[in-house]
């Protein structure tokens, strides 16, 4: 039978505040075990939590950036469960009055994935199981999180992936989290159920906990979908349970079944007062939000004429987009700037972390000045490209590399002379080309470019060379 996937995600995002949610301990990642702790975050009796203003602010920004309503009144609740990673035996979270609700994220296929709610809560400590005992480090305990809960609107593994990628991109844009999956600052619980194609009822779902990489999330979902499909095909039932994904064996395993489902006995946190957010504050935050990736993408494509694939690459990282925008100021064709960034600069910032930081020697103003030389016809594309490489090496402006006499290209007579010389000096290449090796033309072109010190127009030169070589037959 053909099945349709029905999936919803709970995404935990660690906020990049300086301090923990209820105390002044640092949130720095790493650090010796149990050195970022105080009586509040190790849950000693008699201590009082005090809410970090920044956590509320960041959560409001996250909500606004994902089209949520912001609650004017919300509160904190205790979620009770006994486990060593939680020193108080409860987590301070939000239950029935989350800070944000009813938002959505739009995917590239136009489908909207609803966001049920976003609430704030504290992270738990870290457990290391060794020699049958459990070692506990509370450095992470009390680090602020937002939990973003989606509606079960996701219909494919690709959609799940894009949804998380978009969340990651948005949270980074607004600067509330670095969303590094490998460091655990973004992690997902994935709910999965199947139903026959055409059916409108939900099947029994399972939940895979704590996915902290895109690769594993995809693999775990693939495994779980085929496992459930097999069960259903055999006429068996899917059991509602919580699963963990075992990377080494590429399979899921039950953590607990429905009968041991947690009973969290939520109740209001009596140590913390109500959170009130005024409309004035919401409006102020709305005005402060940067242009988000979707809006940028649409603007690049529709107003600047950037091809969609390129626009996608430019908006993915906020600093890249900002660089592109600065370098495009007053430029006739922003596509040239886009090509410089994607074709040449990206080669120097290969991985995600480097693109995120986009720390390159060349200022966007220098790139703009270089492209303006092309606009005014003073240099040709090939000289622009070779100069850009030098500028990237040294971080200096174009004027340091292009002499005045190199500007303006070469006139038709000079170009003709250069091509004649190229043909005369490379008889083998000419023979190869005439013999059918089209690539041989490259060495002739190289000769022309070199001898014109990069000033010749490569496209014109190539055209002329083909003409002349064929005429010499």
């Amino acid at each position: 039978m053909k099945y349709e996937l029905v999936s919803g995600l709970e995404t935990h995002v660690e906020l990049s505040t300086n301090t923990k949610i209820f105390c002044g301990c640092t949130t720095d990642f790493g650090g010796e075990q149990n050195t970022h702790c105080c009586p509040i975050c190790i849950g000693l009796p008699g201590t009082l939590p005090k809410l970090n203003q920044k956590v509320v602010d960041y959560a409001i920004m996250a909500g606004l950036a994902t089209n949520c309503e912001i609650s004017h009144i919300s509160k904190m609740d205790r979620k009770n469960y006994c486990y060593p990673d939680l020193p108080k035996a409860y987590q301070i979270s939000q239950f029935d009055m989350p800070l944000c609700k009813n938002g959505y994220i739009e995917l590239s296929n136009g489908r909207r994935i609803g966001i049920t709610r976003i609430h704030i809560e504290e992270d738990a400590g870290k457990l290391v199981h060794q020699r049958g005992n459990t070692y506990v480090d509370y450095n992470r305990g009390g680090v602020p999180l937002i939990e973003i809960v989606s509606e079960p609107d996701i219909r494919s593994i690709d959609e799940a992936r894009e949804y998380v990628e978009k969340l990651q991109m948005i949270m980074r844009y607004i600067g509330v989290s670095d969303c590094k999956m490998q460091e655990g600052s973004l992690r997902c619980d994935v709910n999965i159920s199947l139903r026959p194609v055409g059916s409108t009822e939900f099947g029994t779902r399972t939940e895979i906990k704590n996915m902290n990489s895109f690769t594993y999330m995809t693999k775990a979902m693939e495994y779980e979908v085929s496992r459930q499909a097999e069960l259903l095909d055999e006429g068996k039932e899917v059991t509602q349970e919580t699963l963990r994904y075992i990377v080494e064996e590429n399979r899921t395993e039950s953590m607990r079944g429905k009968e041991d489902a947690n009973d969290y006995r939520y109740f209001r946190e009596p140590d913390l007062v109500t959170i009130e957010v005024s409309q004035e504050k919401i409006d102020r935050f709305k005005a402060l939000l940067p242009e988000l990736p979707d809006a940028k993408f649409a603007r690049y494509v529709n107003e600047l004429g950037i091809p969609e694939a390129d626009a996608g690459l430019l908006v993915k990282y906020r600093k890249v987009a900002e660089y592109f925008e600065k370098a495009s100021q007053g430029v006739a064709n922003p596509k040239v700037v886009a090509n410089c960034i994607i074709g040449q600069i990206f080669r120097r910032v290969e991985n995600e972390t480097e693109k995120e930081a986009f720390d390159i020697a060349l200022s966007p103003e220098y790139l703009r000045d270089l492209v303006l030389l092309l606009d005014s016809g003073k240099i040709k594309m090939n000289l622009l490209k070779s100069t850009l490489e030098k500028m990237l090496d040294e971080g200096k402006p174009a004027a340091d590399f292009i002499k005045e006499e190199d500007m303006g290209g070469v006139d038709a007579d000079t170009l003709k002379q250069l091509c004649t010389d190229a043909i005369a000096n490379n008889p083998n290449a000419v023979a190869d080309y005439l013999g059918g090796k089209e690539k041989a033309l490259k060495s002739l072109l190289g000769f022309v470019m070199k001898n014109s010190r990069g000033r010749a127009d490569a496209v014109e030169a190539e055209k002329l060379l083909i003409e002349m070589v064929n005429a010499s037959k």
Binding site: G24, C25, T26, N34, L51, K54, M97, N133, D137
Partner: protein, 92 residues
């Protein structure tokens, strides 16, 4: 009405071990406690919305780091510790 099953469930969630012979007495006690707390439901109250009875809101702190405690202090009251970690020993 609190049942024996309710009490067992509570004990399980609280990681408490209860002997069979204690169960009936505990069930009765629990029932009394709940009944006592139920009194409050009888109170007449105009305000049915969210209760913000203390009229306090937004008691917040600035996001400024203060030094954490020395690890020695943090681990001082731990029943068991090893290599700077709290140690939770497996129960045999």
């Amino acid at each position: 009405m609190v049942t024996r099953e309710d009490v067992l469930q509570m004990a399980r969630l609280s990681k408490l071990y209860i002997k069979e012979e204690e169960l009936d007495a505990l069930t009765k006690d629990m029932d009394k406690i709940i009944a006592f707390a139920e009194t409050i439901s009888a109170a007449q109250c105009e305000q049915t919305n969210f209760d913000n009875i203390n009229n306090l809101s937004n008691v917040l702190r600035e996001d400024v780091v203060v030094p954490s405690y020395d690890r020695e202090e943090i681990l001082k009251n731990a029943e068991s510790q090893d290599e700077g970690y709290f140690l939770v020993k497996r129960r045999s």
